[in-house]
């Protein structure tokens, strides 16, 4: 016999629910995970505070020109520390690295995940991860001795485009020109080469992340696009890439983080000059905040070292800004994720 429930009775008082773990083992586990995540937060804050305390005097004496100006002089009495060219150089090299590296990385990830036979995919995955583990000093030396002559060759071809004339029509591509008529016969030490070095360094990271995102995609989503009559390329452009865009952007950001902070490899291939080079990417003149620190730190005067700390702080803030901006973009680009 079934029964009709009586729901007219008074509701009992609400009871306290336990939200924390109960057993000793669970509490221990909870404690370990909690402190591990706290440590990373504490470290970031500690580094930020240290940099702030060290760089305070520099900001006081140099003012806003520290970020925008282009002079560097450590002679006593004439001290001027300004990182404008270095800051812009870091950004320019990162942009070039992203332009060169991202298409390569996404194409590699697509091939490994969707086209390569299993055996090839396995080997390729291992090799790509190995490339990610390559010390940057090795890439820097390789860049100096191997990549520079090759890229210089391509640079000279691009330089040929800085003034193009066909019959009566002629136009300039300032990107490939030299700002000061300097010797166009060598293209070493340019942001163009540093950009390619950065591209080589970020490709494995972005490939790794993108491949992982691709591998987690619902195969039937891709299959339904193919079943509708889509070609491989149209399915990639209209379904795979848009669906994976959030994760891929995350990978690009990880890469960008490395690009902005890359020190040694760029130091080897780039001609650091404290004079801003806006967009003449083939010119043997560029900047990088991290490489500047490496270059000056060893024999820096006390005030100079403080200025380098300040440069580090600026780079730190720039990286934070980029990450925050990207988080905003990812959220905006995927309103469907919130559903």
């Amino acid at each position: 016999m079934s029964d009709i429930q009586d729901v007219t009775a008074e509701v009992p008082a609400r009871r306290q629910l336990r939200t924390k773990p109960f057993s000793l083992a669970d509490r221990l586990f909870y404690g370990i995970t909690k402190s591990a995540s706290s440590i990373s937060v504490i470290l970031v804050v500690a580094i930020l505070l240290f940099l702030l305390s060290q760089s305070f005097s520099t900001f006081q004496t140099q003012g806003f020109d520290f970020i925008t100006g282009s002079q560097w002089n450590n002679a006593k009495g004439h001290e001027v520390f300004q990182i404008g060219p270095m800051l812009w150089g870091s950004v320019l090299i990162s942009i070039l690295g992203i332009i060169g590296g991202v298409p390569m990385a996404i194409a590699a990830a697509y091939f490994i995940e969707f086209m390569a036979p299993k055996s090839v995919a396995k080997v390729a995955t291992v090799l790509v991860d190995l490339l990610a583990a390559m010390p940057s000093i090795v890439i820097g030396l390789w860049g100096l001795y191997v990549l520079t002559p090759v890229v210089a060759h391509w640079g000279s071809l691009l330089y040929g485009l800085h003034h193009v004339g066909i019959g009566p029509v002629s136009f300039d591509i300032p990107l490939f020109a030299m700002s000061d008529g300097s010797d166009p016969s060598t293209f070493g030490g340019s942001p163009f080469i540093a950009g390619w070095i950065v591209a080589v360094m970020i490709v494995p990271i972005i490939t790794s992340v993108t491949r992982e995102i691709f591998s987690q995609m619902d195969r039937d989503l891709i299959n339904s696009a193919l079943a509708l009559g889509g070609s491989r390329s149209s399915v990639f452009m209209r379904v795979i890439l848009p669906t994976a865009s959030g994760g891929v952007t995350g990978g690009v950001l990880l890469g960008l983080g490395r690009a902005l902070g890359e020190t040694v490899a760029i130091f080897y291939v780039l001609n650091l000059v404290s004079d801003i080079n806006w967009f003449n990417i083939l010119q043997s003149k560029g900047g990088s905040v991290a490489s500047l620190v490496l270059q000056k730190f060893g024999e820096g005067t006390p005030n100079e070292i403080k200025a380098l700390m300040a440069a580090g702080l600026v780079l730190f803030v720039l990286t934070l800004l980029v990450n925050w901006l990207a988080a905003v973009i990812v959220n905006r680009a995927q309103p469907w994720r919130k559903l």
Binding site: L226, A227, L228, G229, S234, R238
Partner: protein, 262 residues
């Protein structure tokens, strides 16, 4: 086996065999799918019925290790002929998958038009096509006021009908459905079944299902697949749905449709 194809056969398989690597998974499947009829493919898991369904629009060959022998004839033309582009095959033979999977980055409207975008078609009347396709999938009234909402804002059953509309927008002659209701609640299932019945007036439908009642409700003819221990899957019995369920010839069919195994 009884030959029930009275009308001109629209889609036909002749001795279809499938391998994955060295493993022979499907042997000599020959079935007729007449126009305007719904054919149900039933059988226990792993009997190869979904695999067979995928040979009918050449989705099967997307699996790298896949092998194939036999013929699949659409209006008498072998879709596996050397000069046939699999993309053209899929334009004529649409497919609906097990889990509702509208494209997550697109709106309801964009999902309906996605096939045309994917194939680079031009010169169609978008709003008319969206309305007809959604009407044919009997979901128009529920979504007509929010065509630009994200497709994932729909319920599971609505998403599946959107996926049907997405296929219908390409105006296929045949629609393949791979357990289209297995992820849905009974109410949504009933609506999809009504849609299938309506659609069968204008096209050929092949549906894989684990649900015996569903096979009896929607299909005109039924094929029972079975893969016995160590042997490739094959069709044990094929005939009018009534006959297969009520007076099966093979004892194994009888056991399966009466729920004794599978």
């Amino acid at each position: 086996m009884e030959n029930i194809a009275t009308s001109a056969s629209h889609l036909r398989s002749e001795d279809v065999n499938v391998w994955f690597g060295e493993r022979h998974v499907l042997k000599n499947v020959s079935l007729n799918f007449p126009s305007n009829q719904v054919t149900a493919l039933i059988g226990p898991s792993g009997c190869g019925k979904s695999t067979f369904l995928r040979t009918l629009n050449r989705m099967h060959e997307l699996i790298p290790s896949a092998g194939f022998a036999g013929k699949v004839l659409l209006d008498g033309h072998d879709i596996y002929d050397h000069d046939v582009d699999p993309v053209d095959v899929r334009l004529n033979i649409g497919m609906v998958f097990q889990k509702p999977n509208p494209f997550p980055t697109m709106s309801i409207r964009e999902n309906v038009l996605s096939g045309l975008k994917l194939t680079g078609r031009r010169g169609y009347n978008a709003s008319e096509l969206v309305e007809t396709s959604l009407r044919r999938a009997s979901i128009w009234n529920e979504v007509k006021d929010r065509l630009n909402d994200p497709a994932l804002s729909l319920s599971g059953g609505q998403q599946q009908r959107l996926c049907i509309a997405r296929s219908l927008a390409m105006d296929p002659e045949v629609l393949l459905m791979d357990e289209p209701c297995s992820a849905l609640d009974p109410g949504s299932t009933r609506r999809i079944e009504e849609t299938i019945t309506e659609l069968s007036d204008s096209m050929t439908i092949v549906i894989v299902t684990h649900n015996m009642q569903q096979a009896q409700r929607v299909s005109h003819q039924t094929a029972f697949f079975l893969a016995e221990e160590g042997n490739p899957g094959r069709v044990v019995e094929f005939g009018k749905t009534d006959d297969v369920f009520n007076s099966p010839i093979d004892p194994r069919t009888n056991d399966y449709v009466n729920g004794h195994f599978g």
